[in-house]
């Protein structure tokens, strides 16, 4: 077992453990904080995959914005935070069954796939993934259209979120 595999296993176990805590912990703020740690694990996974840009963006967007947003939302709907009632609905066992089945199915399908044991080729020297990514995102021959559509989507979501969450009574 090489060092890289050890790193991967540690990160994966940490991430999955945190993910498990996200879906099971009773305290929702804790769940959100566990989410942060899961997301951090995923960021490390990106770093291991040589996708440094994704790793940093993961931290900026997910931890810096989305996780904070979650914590805000949990606190704003605070009545339920300290609910002593169950945090799982009564069909939770069925959900668990379905999740296990999904995992089993995916695992089963992956077993039958030939490219599974592929290993990564070394990144060619002098290849700047970030520069290449930037070029492709704004190049008309590549992904400028999805990029622009995503930006429109973000604006729409921004406006929509403000509108939906706007409280006409208080005007704030």
């Amino acid at each position: 077992m090489t060092g890289e595999q050890i790193v991967f296993l540690v990160v994966a176990l940490f991430t999955l453990g945190s993910g498990f805590m996200v879906v099971t912990t009773r305290n929702l703020v804790h769940a959100a904080l566990w989410l942060v740690s899961t997301l951090f694990g995923v960021a490390v996974t990106y770093a291991v995959l040589d996708a440094a840009f994704l790793a940093v963006v993961q931290v900026v967007v997910y931890i810096g914005a989305i996780a904070i947003l979650f914590i805000f939302a949990v606190m704003l709907t605070r009545k339920d935070v300290r609910d002593q009632g169950p945090q799982m609905n009564k069909n939770w066992w069925f959900g668990a069954l379905l999740a296990v089945m999904t995992f089993g199915g995916l695992y089963f399908l992956l077993q039958g796939w030939s490219g599974l044991s592929k290993t990564a080729a070394a990144i060619p020297a002098g290849f700047d993934a970030v520069a290449e990514l930037g070029n492709e995102l704004v190049s008309p021959a590549a992904y400028v259209l999805p990029f622009e559509v995503a930006s429109v989507l973000l604006v729409a979501a921004l406006v929509g979120a403000v509108y939906v969450a706007f409280n006409p009574r208080s005007g704030k």
Binding site: N91, G95, G105
Partner: protein, 717 residues
């Protein structure tokens, strides 16, 4: 840019201006007139370039500028549209572009741009003037037209129509331009739609020209069915014309003659020839000089232009010098209109109506010239007439504008600023207007040698004489005498002598935007005649080459021969012009008021009772027919009767079907039955719709997994 591309582009700026003004700039008067005048300028510029390139081409007649594109698929071929500039087209484009540009420029001043908004002006009525306070005392100044921008938009559309008509190479697009102008004519006559008279005049103009247009459309359709094309240069080939001339159709006329007649009826409507002349005098209800000028210089010329274009059709079945049936009709209508309108003009007091009848009369001249085969002379007169008649109309507009100034000054709104008997002595108040009007009037009368009108009119008379059409010659000569007479009457009453009213004393010269076009046009009214001096004219002949005859004469394959020079027509035109002018001055010099005018004969004053006659002959019967036959008989008796019978019958059948079939079978068994079944199933199944999103998701997932598993095991493996 190639000349062909340029020709395609000529009509575009005005129509763009129309849309720009209507859609975007209509709130800003300044922007609107800038856009409008700018567009007119661009078109003028392009037209000038095209004109001078056309002039510099040798044998333009054989090799005109033309270009066409496929437009409509017709079965297995295409209907083509395109542009064509041949000598006639170039000559017409020359004066059309100048006059249109001048109209635009003149309108800025005429609609009082830069003046304050009126005190109680309303859209749809002419402006009444605004009160301003200056240096402590109030006075009334002209106010700006409330629908200023709209006016420029209409003018733009009008210019588009005219350019399309001039540059098109086929009858259909020409007809499109023709109809656009018809619409604009309607819109502009009824521009002050708040006035009932303007509304009626607009409807009258539209309806009257419609009569002609229907016949024209019939002619176009006939032509298309006979030849399969509407492109001029394809129709006017030897074979086609020969084929058309060789067959006879209704009334024993040849096909070509009959088509030409139908197309000519369109011209009768557009160029206001007898018997469809009644709309033109009423069209003077539009904003005074501008739309009047459209109806004098530009649009009505389109009718003559169309006939000139159709000239080969007209003469297709001509043998030797004898006139064909169609040509005789054309010549008769032209000559008759020339004389007939001139007599009416003598008794009119409204400064614009005199000019309107004069226009009808002059157009009759051209039509008569075409009727006797002198189409070059007709084209020449068309152009000179356009210049001096535009000049006269703009001059009259300037006079009216000056008079309105006087009216505003005195505040007496009962005084009609258009009545010549309210004027007099204006030459001192409005010198530029006077001198330009004088030039225009002399040109109209055919004042010898210096004015353009003399040369063109003389050429028509010479042609009529030279080809031995005596009746036409005499009629036109008399008409020319009357023309000179009423022109001098108008000048004398308006400008000479002493002011007859207080308002005339306070008339004022108009702004530069109005006088500049006058000066420009008067320049052409004098000089344009010099391009067409016949070679054999004593003394002057040959000094200047007879360029116009050379140029336009080569439009068609065979150049019409110039008749031998003769002293008789020359002397005739000298005598009638000078005689008419002198007599007019002598007689009206001393006339002080309407009652002293001996020529106010009721018959002439009332225009031979044509309006009344048409009212009695067509309008009243039409009303009667609509009321009694269509409404009372057809609608009430016949159609309502049928309805009254069929109604209860269908009702009965319907009731039977309903009771015996619908209610028991469809409703209870099929309708209620299926609803009941659905309801029952819905009741059983609604437990699934819990409204809980997670259960939906679970259900979806279960389905997904089941389908996936099934696919995997039964399909993929």
């Amino acid at each position: 840019m190639t000349t062909e591309t340029l020709i395609w582009l000529i009509p575009l700026p005005p129509v763009l201006a129309f849309f720009l003004i209507v859609l975007l700039t209509n709130k800003s008067k300044w922007l609107s007139h800038t856009v409008g005048v700018g567009a007119a300028f661009l078109s003028w510029l392009a037209s000038m370039i095209v004109f001078f390139r056309a002039v510099s081409v040798e044998h333009l007649g054989e090799h005109p500028f033309e270009s066409s594109i496929n437009w409509l698929p017709t079965g297995n071929s295409w209907f083509e549209i395109g542009v064509l500039i041949d000598p006639v087209g170039a000559a017409v484009l020359f004066f059309v572009s100048i006059t249109i540009f001048m109209i635009f420029l003149y309108s800025v001043g005429y609609h009082n741009f830069g003046q304050p908004a009126g005190d109680h002006d309303r859209a749809g009525l002419p402006p009444h003037g605004a009160t301003v306070e200056e240096h402590g005392h109030k006075h009334v100044v002209p106010s700006v037209e409330p629908m200023y921008s709209r006016f420029f938009a209409f003018l733009g559309l009008f210019a588009f129509g005219m350019y399309v008509l001039v540059v098109s190479d086929n009858l259909l697009t020409m007809f499109v331009g023709w109809e656009i102008m018809g619409l604009c004519s309607y819109l502009l006559i009824g521009f002050w739609y708040g006035k009932e008279s303007a509304r009626n005049a607009a409807i009258k103009a539209f309806m009257t020209t419609r009569v002609g247009d229907v016949f024209m459309l019939l002619g176009i359709a006939f032509l298309y069915s006979a030849t399969g094309t509407l492109t001029f240069r394809e129709i006017f080939t030897e074979e086609t014309l020969h084929m058309l001339a060789g067959h006879t159709t209704f009334f024993g006329m040849t096909v070509s003659g009959f088509i030409a007649l139908l197309l000519f009826i369109g011209t009768i409507g557009k160029s206001a020839q007898w018997p469809l002349h009644v709309w033109l005098p009423d069209a003077m209800e539009g904003p005074t000089p501008v739309s009047a000028m459209i109806h004098a210089a530009t649009m009505v010329s389109a009718g003559v232009y169309a006939v000139i274009r159709m000239f080969p059709l007209l003469t297709a079945d001509m043998h030797g010098h004898g006139l064909t049936v169609t040509m005789s009709i054309v010549a008769f209508i032209g000559a008759f209109t020339a004389l007939f309108a001139a007599t009416i003009a003598v008794a009119q007091n409204d400064i614009k109506r005199v000019l309107a009848y004069s226009t009808i009369s002059q157009l009759g001249y051209m039509i008569a010239a075409i009727g006797i085969g002198a189409y070059v002379a007709a084209a020449f007169h068309l152009i000179t007439h356009a210049f001096f008649k535009a000049l006269l109309f703009l001059g009259s507009g300037s006079v009216i504008h000056g008079m309105e100034h006087g009216v505003l000054h005195t505040g007496n709104h009962k005084v009609d600023p258009q009545d010549m008997y309210n004027m007099g002595g204006l030459r001192k108040k409005m010198p530029i207007t006077f001198w330009t009007f004088l030039i225009g009037g002399f040109a109209l009368s055919g004042f010898p040698l210096v004015t353009a009108g003399f040369w063109s009119k003389d050429e028509i008379l010479a042609d009529a004489f030279g080809h031995g059409h005596w009746a036409v010659f005499i009629t036109l000569a008399v008409a020319a005498f009357l023309t000179a007479f009423y022109t001098m009457r108008q000048i004398t009453l308006t400008f000479l002598g002493e002011p007859r009213t207080e308002e005339a004393k306070h008339a004022q010269e108009t702004p530069w935007t109005m006088t500049t076009p006058l000066v420009v046009l008067s320049f052409f009214a004098v000089t344009y005649g010099w391009v067409g001096i016949p070679e054999h004219f004593p003394l002057l002949g040959g000094l200047v080459p007879n360029w116009f005859h050379d140029f336009v004469g080569h439009t068609l394959a065979e150049v019409p021969e110039t008749p031998e020079f003769s002293w008789i027509p020359l002397l005739t035109s000298l005598v009638v012009a000078l005689g008419g002018l002198t007599l007019g001055w002598l007689y009206y010099r001393n006339v002080k008021s309407v009652s002293e005018d001996k020529l106010q004969i009721p018959l002439l004053k009332n225009k031979y009772y044509f309006d009344e006659a048409y009212d009695f002959l067509f309008v009243k019967p039409a009303y009667w027919f609509a009321e009694n036959v269509v409404y009372k008989l057809l609608d009430q008796r016949l159609i309502d009767g049928i309805l009254h019978i069929s109604g209860p019958t269908t009702g009965g059948i319907g009731k039977f079907v309903r009771e015996k079939f619908d209610l028991p079978f469809i409703n209870e068994l099929v309708g209620d039955g299926s609803a009941n079944v659905t309801y029952w199933f819905g009741g059983k199944l609604r437990a699934v719709q819990t409204g809980r999103v997670q259960q939906y998701l679970m259900l979806a997932l279960v389905t997904f997994i089941v389908i996936g598993v099934a696919l995997y095991f039964f399909v993929l493996s």
